[in-house]
C-alpha cells in the first residue's frame, strides 16, 4: 500500500537539497510552489525529513555514549550509586582503558613504522592555503564564500560537499578546483587532491597555477609518488618548489 508512494532517487536528492538549504533561489521558489499544491510531495518531504533525522539522531546518540565514557569519574558521580554496580563499572572501564591504551600504543608503533619519508616530508611542508577573504558584500558568490568559511574553520568535509555541488554547474572553475584539491589534501586524501589540482595544469593563466603545482607535488608525496613529485617540481622552478625538492633528495 505504502510502496506506491515511495520516492525516486531524483526526488530524494531534490528533497535533500531543499532540506539542507542548498537549492538556489530559482529552484527553491519552483519547488515550494509545487510543494504547496502537491500533497503527495508534502508527504515525501515529511518522510525523508524524518528518515534523515533518524539517521542523524542515531549517529549523535552513539557519539554521546562515547563522550560520556570519557568523562572521568569524580566524587560527584559516586554519591548514591549502589556499591556493586560501581565496582563492576569501574573495573570494566579500567579494562577498557587498558585496552584503549594498548590499541593506541600499537597504533602509534604501527604508524611510526609505516610512515615513509615522503609522509614526513608532507607533514613538514603542508600548510593549508589560508583561503580567500570572505566579505559579506559579494552576494553573487554567496555559496562559494559560505563554503570558504567552513574551509577556514577546517571543516573540510562541509566545504568539499558545498564546492563539489558548485563544481557540477561550473566544471572549469579554477578557484573551485584549487580549493577542492587543497581541502582534500588537508584531509589527507592525496589521490583526490591530485585529481583536482591536476586539472589546473590546463589553465596556465589562473592565479592558482603556481600554488596548485606546489600542492600537487605534496599530494603526490602523500600518495607515495616521490618520483613524480620530483619531476613536477623540477619542471616548475620556484623558491618554494626548490626548498621542497631539496628535502626530497
Amino acid at each position: 500500500m505504502d510502496t506506491q508512494h515511495t520516492f525516486t532517487i531524483e526526488q530524494l536528492e531534490t528533497i535533500e537539497r531543499y532540506l539542507d538549504h542548498t537549492m538556489d533561489a530559482g529552484e527553491k521558489v519552483q519547488f515550494e510552489a509545487q510543494l504547496a499544491k502537491d500533497t503527495s510531495l508534502q508527504e515525501k518531504v515529511a518522510e525523508i525529513r524524518f528518515l534523515i533525522e533518524t539517521v542523524e539522531t542515531a549517529a549523535l546518540k552513539s557519539k554521546l555514549e562515547r563522550f560520556h565514557e570519557s568523562i572521568k569519574d569524580s566524587k560527584a558521580s559516586l554519591i548514591d550509586a549502589p556499591k556493586r554496580t560501581l565496582i563492576r563499572r569501574r573495573s570494566k572501564s579500567s579494562i577498557y582503558a587498558i585496552a584503549a591504551i594498548l590499541v593506541v600504543a600499537f597504533g602509534v608503533l604501527y604508524i611510526m613504522n609505516a610512515e615513509t619519508s615522503s609522509e614526513k616530508l608532507f607533514a613538514k611542508h603542508f600548510i593549508p592555503d589560508p583561503g580567500l577573504p570572505t566579505t559579506m558584500s559579494n552576494t553573487s558568490n554567496f555559496d562559494f564564500y559560505d563554503a570558504m568559511v567552513n574551509y577556514k574553520r577546517a571543516e573540510y568535509d562541509l566545504a568539499i560537499a558545498k564546492w563539489e555541488k558548485l563544481l557540477r554547474e561550473k566544471p572549469q572553475n579554477d578557484s573551485l578546483q584549487y580549493f577542492l584539491g587543497v581541502s582534500y589534501l588537508a584531509k589527507g586524501n592525496g589521490s583526490l587532491a591530485e585529481e583536482y589540482l591536476q586539472k589546473l595544469s590546463n589553465q596556465p593563466n589562473s592565479i592558482f597555477t603556481n600554488d596548485a603545482i606546489f600542492y600537487r607535488a605534496l599530494a603526490l608525496l602523500k600518495s607515495g609518488k616521490a618520483e613524480q613529485a620530483t619531476q613536477l617540481l623540477k619542471a616548475n622552478p620556484s623558491e618554494r618548489n626548490a626548498k621542497l625538492l631539496l628535502d626530497i633528495k
Binding site: 525523508i48 533525522e53 533518524t54 549517529a59 549523535l60 560527584a76 568535509d157 568539499i160
Partner: protein, 192 residues
Amino acid sequence: MGERQHIEKQFQIIEAIKNNNEFVLKKLYQDNFRKVEMHILKNNGTIPHAKDIYQEAFIAVWKNVKDDKFIPQSETAIQGYLYQIAKNKWTDFLRSSQYKKTISLHPLNTVSSEEIESETENLNWTSGVLMQDAMSVFNDMGDSCKQLLMQFYYQKKSMREIAQTLGIDEASARNKKYRCMQKLRRLVKTPN
C-alpha cells in the same frame, strides 16, 4: 564590546552544532554534565537517571539549534539552555506517573538498581516513540548501509569521497545510498 564578542562566539558554536562538529559537541557535552548530574542526584535521582536525562536534553538542544528554534542572547546562552532543559525534563519525570508508580510500589531506598535501569530505559528518547522505534530499526540495519548513511547525513561527507572509500564510482554510491534509504523507509513502515 566584550559582550558582543561573546555573543559572536555563541553564534559560532551554533554554526558548529548545526554542522555536527565533533569537537564542539564533545566539549559542550562534557563541560555541562556535572552540573546537571549534581542537580539530579540532589533531587532523588540516580546516576543512570542523570545520564539519560542529560542525553535526552542534549539531543533536544541539538535539534532546536538545527531547527533555528534557539537564538543565543548572552555569552553562556547555550550552556544555560542545556541546563534548563535538563532540569525541566527531570521535573517532568518526577511528576510523571511512571515515577510515582515506582514510589508507591517500592518505598524509597528499597528500589533495586536493576529496576532503576529498566525504568530509565523507558524514558522517552526524542520526539516520541516513533523516532525511538525508527532509531532502533536503523541501529539493526546492516553495517554498510548504516555507515554510508551516517557518513553522508551526519558527518556530511561528500558522495564523491564516500564513493572513493568504498572503491566504487560516484553514481553507484548515490544509488547505494538511495537503496539504503528505501530499505530504512520500508523497515520503519513495517517493523518485523
